[in-house]
Subunit: 305 residues, 2 copies
């Protein structure tokens, strides 16, 4: 089974465990809607790739860490799409959870997914219980206070925010959790793997900003132009589109260079390269650069402190 | 230090750990607002009392389990008060979190509290890591799908619901988690302790229904009459107030009888008795019964299937 198919099957089986007789059917539907069909599943892929690079002696625990992180990511999307945040009608090309099931069930589906994330970890940890405290702390830190993705989202409610702190928390934190947890699930030291998650997470956030300005909503499966209309911190607004593309490329380069040497380093660097191409295709950047040379644009003024 | 002061100090120190420099200040404020000032803290008291009855050989882990359950309870209150659920302007006699901080921060504070619950467990589990998988699973099961408090809340979105299933999930599940986790944190078998949580949880939900009809909102610190106005399943509507009081008393009695024999059984039974008196004071019941004898009331028709 390839890695994506393995992740999908594991997500399906964890979700199905909560759908037994006696569960509220609409909540079950909302959870399924939030998790499937597949997104890019980059975080769990990254987690499993690092676990593999570290020896993968407990594949069940590594898989649980990977799907736990994906459930947390899905939970954050469901809550971020709510009317009190982005009010996004669509996600991954289908109605957002609150559009399909209403706000109450969207709030509850997000909550249930956060819980399912930690429950999935618990149920796979009997083989290596000594790894669970560190693994659980790493993953929880990627989500909660003070620097996890929930804190990142909360920066949008503050009058003053540093773009780097915001991006690091909103996206980077769960990427760091993915690489560190991959190492910990294999019994390895997470420290050398944190930089990869950190660089890649920042690259993802910058790519998101670029796509918010550049992409076609049909193609992206969610609305575009949200950052400007919601007054949200954005590299593409801060640095201008050309500057943001350059920044993205330097972050991907740093991510690739941060991969610790070893037999799996090449495979991990390939994953980084493929993902960066999927996120911000080089062809589109070249096209934009050519257009820029013909009509030089004035970079927008910063909207953040 | 008495047990309540110990719980408060532990909650304070866990919340403070997330409030370091670089965290978003409004989210930190919303979390603090959700957790303090103290509610009854009955779930953590119950958890610690059971851990004590089971030997309390790892007080740090038992305390973490207790505060973890309280954080999950606080998170559920913050989310249940949101406009898409109860739209409650007050809670514990102060503005609800969304009234004080807005909906976005209320959603995020609830999320952060769920995460903090599991993080608190992780950080206390290094001394007895072998207990963590079971403990984590027990606590997560009390909150998530298919039978935890999130599922209980989701039953309010279903057209047809069994009152017992609804109450067992909405309130009972976290009480069962509290007693079972207390035992597991002390390395004991959780099974003999589940019944206590189960009976007590049901008693709490019935007490809540009674108070929703009978109590003064000033005294309760939150709005009353919500069950009828929101069309929510309620024992007081289902059985009539007199029937609900009788049901409550039989549940408290069953809870008390379910306490496994042992040196701490008497202390636990005392806790049950004191709590039941705090929830539905006998004097108020007697007063109601006397009034009933003078003007017999017709029990309301059931609103649930």
């Amino acid at each position: 089974m390839n890695i994506i198919a393995h992740i999908e099957a594991s997500l399906h089986s964890a979700v199905a465990a909560g759908e037994i007789r006696g569960c509220p059917p609409k909540l079950a539907g909302a959870i399924r809607h939030a998790v499937f069909p597949a997104g890019a599943r980059i975080r769990p892929q990254l987690c499993l790739a690092v676990a593999k690079a570290c020896g993968l002696d407990d594949p069940g625990l590594a898989t649980a860490a990977a799907i736990s992180i994906e459930f947390l990511h899905c939970a954050s999307l469901v809550h971020d799409d709510l009317p009190c945040f982005d009010d996004a009608p669509t996600r991954r090309g289908q109605p957002s959870v609150h559009s399909a099931y209403g706000q109450s069930l969207a709030v509850l589906a997000g909550d249930a997914l956060i819980v399912l994330a930690f429950q999935s970890l618990a149920r796979a940890a009997h083989t290596s219980p000594a790894r669970l405290p560190g693994l659980l702390d790493t993953i929880a830190s990627g989500v909660g206070m003070p620097f996890g993705i929930v804190a990142g989202q909360a920066w949008e409610s503050e009058p003053k925010v540093s773009l780097t702190d915001y991006q690091r928390a909103k996206t980077g934190a769960l990427f760091v959790a993915a690489t560190a947890a991959g190492a910990q699930a294999a019994g390895a030291d997470p420290l050398p793997w944190r930089a990869l998650g950190d660089w890649l997470g920042e690259a993802y956030q910058v790519a998101d900003d670029i796509r918010d300005v550049m992409a076609d909503p049909q193609l992206l499966g969610k609305p575009t132009g949200q950052d400007i209309s919601l007054g949200r911190p954005s590299s593409a607004i801060d640095l201008g589109l050309a500057g943001a593309i350059e920044h993205f490329e330097s972050l991907v380069d740093a991510a690739s260079k941060s991969v610790p040497d070893g037999p799996s380093a090449q495979a991990l660097r390939k994953l980084v390269r493929l993902e960066s191409e999927r996120l911000v295709p080089r062809a589109a950047c070249e096209q934009f650069r050519k257009a820029q040379t013909r009509t030089p644009a004035t970079p927008s003024k910063s909207v953040t402190a």
